[in-house]
Each structure stands twice: as structure tokens, then as C-alpha cells.
């Protein structure tokens, strides 16, 4: 299987699907779609994995509906694939082997907001940013802020343990989920974790977050809401060399500061963003840092001065956003970076690895060398504060042989990241994309333990089979998957 432009899903769906009638009986006709258009929409996520074929697509609006779907799936020995907004970048929501798709689109209500205890119960289909907007008047917000936060769902954030620029100081999704109600492959609904301080038993909540839809279908989530900071300052620092920007990141961290966010953009990214968003980034800089400091007012002023001083000491020019409007503009540039890359080339592949902060310069230099060697265009925009690289390779997929070059370059970037003590993924997850690379980070014993955890939740391997774990470590495939040879994207 090779990377290629998305084509219409075909194959299994044309035949009569015996479980559709049963799903309609259980959920009602308006909650089940088995037509080609609906199945086509559910056949891929935002990753480059495009060979999937979805089975019937269900739109439950309650826990009971999800339990009913699980019952039908068990009777027909079918796989079940939960799906949020489909913005995932690793193929986690791309179907393998004709699964019944459970779309959380209609489960989009904020059920309860408890301002006193700073917690909200939401359905999984609630869009990340919508929750923050809804609780804004209480002076609270939902801290995880992935770049896709205007469209991605909180259920998807739970499945992927999503991050975002501000998780540098506030932590990733796992730190903001108190409890999840999930439907297991047995059809049973259980609440993992709880609102009390120390729920009894193993931290199954923590195990579930980041399980990429393979442990159960999330039907309700209790999220922690974070008080808005009293004060926020955003700085734009521009440097003549990428190494000076990276050294500034290290020096800020070493000084005892933990800014809310430290983002880096290279020259090509700045050029693309400026053409598009006119954020006022200096085009002549080799790299810019966007650093945000938040907290109580006077401490923020002191931290801002300290960060600015460190930046200047490393040869940077510093601009501090004077007001909320300027701050929003600076962030608009960062947040529109991926869209802006369309001006560089029609297609892009967005990578995701983490390396030790001290290796940033070394790895960035290797990334430029690798991508140049494959005659592609590298654009770098990433979470520098936690070493989370997002090299983006821009290309034109109509060019013959380009997909193979993108795949080969992507693989080399992974190798470089692992060689310096990094990991395969910082926030996009493993899915299909990096599944076959798991054996380069983990031993066989490690992967067997991960498979045990999966089997504790889903002994039938019914939920999103074929993802995360390389095939030698997956549990027995269910019948509908056994005929389907699932190669990794880069296989």
C-alpha cells in the first residue's frame, strides 16, 4: 500500500450487509446510513491512509444506542470503529476490514457544568472549542487546545490523548479527564475514574485515555475545567539562526520558567503565514518563537521581562503584544500555519515526533538535510517547549514517484528522532501510520504487555482492530478482519 490521492472507497460495501436491518431495528432508520456517500465520508480521516472501507455508519444519540450497536456487532462478529470529527492524522479513525462505524456527531451536548467543582460532563461529540466558549462566562476553560480545536471533538481528544500549544504548562488531555463512561465490547457501560478525589482500583481512566478507540466507545466524559489566568502576555522573538531560537528555548526552561506555550516557526513557515494571515511576523528571520506567559499579573510582568531578556541575550529581537488584538493576530499566524502551507504546494504530510529539547537543533538540521535530499520542501512549525517536532513536507502528489519520496523521508525523520532518544509520536498517535514502527521503540515484551491491557478491555478485539500494535502483537483477528491485509501507510 502506498500513499496516493484519496479515491472513492469501494469493494465490500456494494454487497448486501446483513447487519444493517438489525441496526435500523435497534436505532431507527434515521440513525443508520449504509449508502455509499455516507460510507465514503467515513472511509478516511485526515491522515494519508486512504484504503479503508467503512461498513454501515451509525449516529447514536445515547449510551443505550451504542450498547445496541455493540450487541449487533457481536452477533455478526463485526468490528466497531468509533469516529469523532475525523481530524486525526495517524489513521486512527480510518476503517480496516469493513467495521460498523459509530459516529458521535449527534452526541454533542454539554450535559452539566459544575462551576464550584470546576468540572463538566460532556458527550463525546462536543467540539473542543465549543466547550470553552460555553463556560467562558464562568472564568473557566478546557485547557487542551490542539490546532484542530475548532472542529475536533472531546471524544477524539480522549481517544488520542491530544495535546496542543498550551499543554506545555497545563498538561495533555489525560490530566484534564476525571471520568469517562464507556461502552465495552461486551456491550456493558462502565464509568472509569470518578469525580471523587481518589477513585478505587487501577487507573483505568488513565489507561483508556489515548487508547485510540481500541478499548471502548466513549459515551460521556467528565472534564476538568481550568480557571482563566489573571493575565496573559504573548511575545514574538525573531532570530537570525535556528540554533539561537533553540538555545533561547533551552535557556528559558533552564531559568526556571514554565511558559504556557513555546512555539517555533522557521523561515519558510513565516513566509507562508505572512502571505496568508498577515500576522506581522518578520520575513527576514531564520526562526521565530511565539512564547506565552500567563498567571497572576505581577509575576507575568516579571516573567515577560525575563523571557525578553533571555531572547535578546541570544541575539533575538523581541516584540510583546500590546493588547488583546495584537495577541490574537500573533496566534492567528501560528494557528493558520497548516492552511497557509497550501500556498507552498497543494499537498502536505505533517509529521509528529518528540526529541529531547537539547537535541532540537541537531534534529532540525537532519530534517532539512533529509527533506532536501528527497527533493521535497520542509516547513517547520512546532511545539519547541516540549521538543515536539512537526516537520511538514509540502509536495504535489501529481508528480510521479513523489509519494514514495515522502514516505522514505518520513521514515528517515523517525529514525533520527529515535536515535537521539525521542519517541514516535507526541500527540497525533500511532493508528495505522506508525504501527509498524512500534517495534523500533518497544521490545516484544513491551508490546505484549500493551496487548494485555487492550485484551483486558476488549477480549474480542472488536474495537478498531488492526491499529497501534503491530500484527504479531495484536490479539486474534476477528473474522471480518482476517481476510484483510492491513499494511502500514509506509509499509
Amino acid at each position: 500500500m502506498k500513499l496516493r490521492r484519496r479515491t472513492r472507497a469501494d469493494g465490500a460495501g456494494q454487497r448486501h450487509d446483513p447487519c444493517v436491518a438489525e441496526l435500523i431495528r435497534a436505532l431507527g432508520a434515521d440513525r443508520v446510513r449504509a449508502d455509499n456517500a455516507a460510507r465514503h465520508l467515513a472511509s478516511a480521516d485526515a491522515s494519508m491512509f486512504i484504503d479503508g472501507a467503512a461498513g454501515p455508519v451509525c449516529f447514536p444519540d445515547s449510551t443505550e444506542h451504542v450498547q445496541a450497536i455493540m450487541g449487533v456487532a457481536a452477533r455478526h462478529d463485526r468490528a466497531v470503529l468509533p469516529r469523532g470529527a475525523g481530524t486525526g492524522l495517524s489513521g486512527g479513525a480510518a476503517p480496516l476490514g469493513d467495521p460498523i462505524v459509530v459516529s458521535t456527531t449527534r452526541m454533542n451536548r454539554v450535559l452539566e457544568v459544575d462551576v464550584e467543582d470546576r468540572v463538566a460532563w460532556v458527550q463525546p461529540g462536543v467540539v473542543n472549542l465549543d466547550l470553552t466558549k460555553q463556560v467562558a462566562s464562568s472564568g473557566l476553560h478546557f485547557a487542551p487546545d490542539p490546532s484542530s480545536q475548532q472542529v475536533c471533538t472531546i471524544g477524539g481528544n480522549v481517544a488520542n490523548n491530544s495535546g496542543g500549544p498550551h499543554c506545555l504548562a497545563y498538561g495533555v488531555t489525560s490530566a484534564h479527564v476525571l471520568a469517562v463512561e464507556v461502552v465495552l465490547s461486551s456491550g456493558e457501560a462502565v464509568v472509569l475514574g470518578g469525580l471523587e478525589a481518589e477513585p478505587s482500583g487501577y487507573d483505568l481512566r488513565g489507561a483508556f485515555v489515548g487508547s485510540e478507540g481500541m478499548f471502548g466507545v466513549t459515551t460521556k466524559i467528565a472534564v476538568r475545567l481550568t480557571p482563566d489566568p489573571e493575565s496573559v502576555k504573548t511575545l514574538l522573538l525573531a532570530f537570525d539562526a535556528v540554533s539561537d531560537a533553540a538555545a533561547t528555548v533551552g535557556a528559558v526552561i533552564a531559568s526556571g520558567s514554565v511558559p504556557a506555550a513555546i512555539e517555533m516557526m522557521d523561515k519558510r513557515c513565516v513566509a507562508a503565514v505572512e502571505d496568508f494571515a498577515h500576522a506581522g511576523y518578520p520575513r527576514d528571520a531564520a526562526a521565530v518563537l511565539l512564547i506565552e506567559v500567563d498567571g497572576p499579573r505581577r509575576g507575568v510582568e516579571a516573567e515577560t521581562d525575563k523571557v525578553a531578556e533571555i531572547g535578546r541575550a541570544h541575539g533575538g529581537t523581541v516584540r510583546v503584544a500590546a493588547d488583546e488584538q495584537e495577541r490574537a493576530l500573533l496566534w492567528k499566524g501560528r494557528k493558520s500555519a497548516f492552511g497557509a502551507v497550501a500556498r507552498v504546494a497543494p499537498d502536505y504530510y505533517l509529521h509528529d515526533t518528540v526529541v529531547p529539547r537539547s537535541k532540537l537543533v541537531e534534529v532540525l538540521e537532519a530534517v532539512y538535510e533529509i527533506v532536501d535530499r528527497y527533493d521535497l520542501t520542509a516547513v517547520n512549525v512546532f511545539h519547541a517547549g516540549d521538543g515536539n517536532l512537526h516537520p511538514l513536507m509540502a509536495y504535489d502528489s501529481r508528480e510521479p514517484g513523489v509519494n514514495e519520496r515522502v514516505a522514505a523521508a518520513g521514515r528517515e525523520i523517525l529514525e533520527v528522532s529515535l536515535a537521539v532518544g525521542g519517541v514516535l509520536s507526541g500527540e497525533h498517535g500511532i493508528g495505522v501510520e506508525k504501527r509498524d514502527f512500534m517495534e523500533y521503540q518497544f521490545t516484544s515484551a513491551d508490546l505484549e504487555q500493551q496487548a494485555l491491557l487492550r485484551r483486558s478491555f476488549d477480549p474480542h478485539c472488536r474495537l478498531n482492530p488492526g491499529k497501534v500494535l503491530p500484527s504479531a502483537h495484536s490479539c486474534a483477528d476477528i473474522a471480518s478482519l482476517s481476510a484483510f491485509k492491513a499494511d502500514g501507510v509506509w509499509g
Binding site: 495535546g163 533551552g250 521490545t443
Partner: protein
């Protein structure tokens, strides 16, 4: 192409070999929290994890430390670089100076500063442990951010050593604040303190007196002190021995017969003189899932027989 990873750490491999592939075994840390989940059965062979700091990277804000190291020793080394972890180190009146890193992780109970410093589970980046078949296993990874594979570290934190014997850990470190102090507040409502104090990392309440630990820039602590009711510098109170687990808002409606208590405001832990007579119930489905996890990870129940994460 890179080769699959091989652990060449002789000390850890020796620890895994000592745990071995069969027979009951109990892993011993400082032995300070045997009362949580019950002590292991009498006469079970005991093993101890190695101790010492393997690698400390102040600029990465991570430290790799053997599980047998005391948290107090670890924090003494981190303090040289103005850092510490979220683990309880027995400073002040809380906990014990002999608590080990492995023990703190296996028990999974955060110190009273959880309000501001987060749950200790969020400080654990990687664990290497001996599995029930005696093989050495790595859970998580060395970087401060990581979603590679399932989040195995989360189930090990608070597992009371029943899923694997923890050999070492990579922990996230945090800078120590410029200023920190405990204050005692007169005539204060705990809810008001929680809403008002922007630098509080801990707020304790015994039903009438509020104590707060204020940490941060000294100017921010000054501003908090100006906003809060009259206060005086103070030592925090001693904590009664038993922990009750409640929702934060339930602290204000504890039953009459609770007796003396110290409640962690905004968190929900209540320290009491006696065991919780009315713990939150565990649903049968969740209990079954807990049992399945233990059965799969340790089919022969060799790890810490007699100890259990399920409430007895």
C-alpha cells in the same frame, strides 16, 4: 534502519532476574504505606528495587531514578538545580522521609499540594518494571510529551505492585517557585480562598481554620495576601492517618460523626482519625474490569499476594 531496542542496563536486568518468572514475591520500598490495600501475605519472598539517580537532565526537566531511591534523597539532588517532582518527600509534617520513589508511584497518592502541582501520575513519564514472566518491560517513554502506544504508566501508578515490580522511573521535574510559605487564615471560607488565592498549591481546612500554601513570585504571593482575609505565617497541621475520597464540594457536608479531619480543599481528600465508614461504591462492571487486568498481567497472582487495589 534502526535496530529494535535492547535493554543493556545490568542493574535492572539483575533486578528482573531476582524477581524471576515464578513463585510469590513482594516488592518492598520504604514500607511506609503497607496499610494501603493490605500488607503482603506473611513469609512471601521480598525483593528491593535498586537505588540511585541514573541520569538527571535539569535542562530537559526530567530525571531517571531507581525505584529504591527515597524521594527525599532524589529531591535533595534536584534542589541543587532549583527543581523537584510532584512526589511526596516527607517534608514538613506530611508522609515519611523513608518513602521511596517506587513506593510512592505504586501507592499513587499525591501529597497535599496536588491542587497546584497536579496528581503524581502526571509526573510519571516512563517506568521500567519486571513483568510476571520475569521479563523487563518499558512503559511510556523518556520525553516530556509522548502518545506512543497505550498509556501503560497510568495503570502502574497506584497498582500497589500487583501488576509488575517497578525498577526505575523517568519523572518530570518542576522548577521550585521563587517564594513559598504556609499561612493560616482567620475567619475564612475555604471556597472563597479557593476562588481568590491565585498562588495556592494547597488549601487545608479542619472545619473552622484554613491553611494555605502560597507559591510563586513573591509579588504574586503578596497580592494574594492582600486579597485574602487576615492571615499569619504558620506551620500546616498534622494529618490524621486515614484518607477518605470525596468530591471537592462534599467536603462541606461531612457527617457530624466524622471527628477531627483535615480536608484538601479543591481536591476532595479528607484526612480523618478513622477509616471511611461510607466509601463511594465500586460498580460491579468496574470491579470485574479491575480483576481482569490483574488476572491478565499476573495470572498466577505472584505479585504482592494479599495486597489488593480493590477496596476491601
Amino acid at each position: 534502519m534502526i535496530a529494535p531496542p535492547v535493554i543493556e542496563d545490568a542493574e535492572l536486568l539483575a533486578f528482573a532476574a531476582e524477581v524471576g518468572p515464578s513463585g510469590p514475591v513482594a516488592v518492598r520500598g520504604g514500607g511506609t504505606q503497607w496499610h494501603v490495600g493490605g500488607a503482603p501475605d506473611h513469609g512471601v519472598r521480598e525483593v528491593r528495587a535498586p537505588s540511585g539517580i541514573v541520569e538527571y537532565r535539569p535542562d530537559e526537566m526530567t530525571v531517571c531514578v531507581r525505584a529504591g531511591t527515597t524521594v527525599a534523597e532524589l529531591h535533595a539532588v534536584l534542589a541543587e538545580h532549583g527543581q523537584r517532582t510532584a512526589l511526596p518527600d516527607g517534608s514538613g509534617p506530611f508522609g515519611s522521609r523513608s518513602s521511596t520513589v517506587g513506593g510512592a508511584i505504586a501507592v499513587g497518592r499525591s501529597p497535599v499540594t496536588r491542587l497546584g502541582n497536579g496528581h503524581i501520575r502526571d509526573a510519571v513519564l516512563q517506568l521500567r518494571y519486571a513483568a510476571a514472566d520475569g521479563r523487563l518491560v518499558t512503559a511510556g517513554g523518556p520525553t516530556v510529551k509522548n502518545v506512543t502506544g497505550f498509556d501503560m504508566c497510568r495503570v502502574l501508578v497506584g497498582s500497589l505492585g500487583t501488576l509488575g515490580c517497578i525498577g526505575d522511573a523517568i519523572l518530570r521535574t518542576r522548577p521550585k517557585p521563587e517564594h513559598e510559605q504556609w499561612v493560616q487564615l482567620e475567619d475564612a471560607e475555604p471556597q472563597t480562598v479557593l476562588r481568590t488565592a491565585r498562588t495556592a498549591t494547597a488549601i487545608l481546612w479542619d472545619g473552622s481554620v484554613v491553611w494555605a500554601r502560597l507559591c510563586g513570585h513573591h509579588v504574586d504571593v503578596e497580592d494574594d495576601l492582600a486579597r485574602l482575609p487576615a492571615s499569619s505565617a504558620a506551620q500546616p497541621p498534622d494529618l490524621p492517618p486515614y484518607r477518605w475520597s470525596r468530591r471537592p464540594k462534599d467536603l462541606y457536608c461531612l457527617p457530624e460523626e466524622t471527628g477531627r479531619f483535615i480536608a484538601e480543599v479543591g481536591v476532595g481528600v479528607v484526612h480523618c482519625e478513622r477509616p471511611d465508614p461510607d466509601p463511594p461504591p465500586v460498580a460491579p462492571g468496574v470491579a470485574a474490569l479491575n480483576r481482569r487486568v490483574r488476572e491478565l498481567f499476573d495470572p498466577d497472582r505472584r505479585f504482592n499476594p494479599g495486597r489488593s487495589v480493590e477496596r476491601l
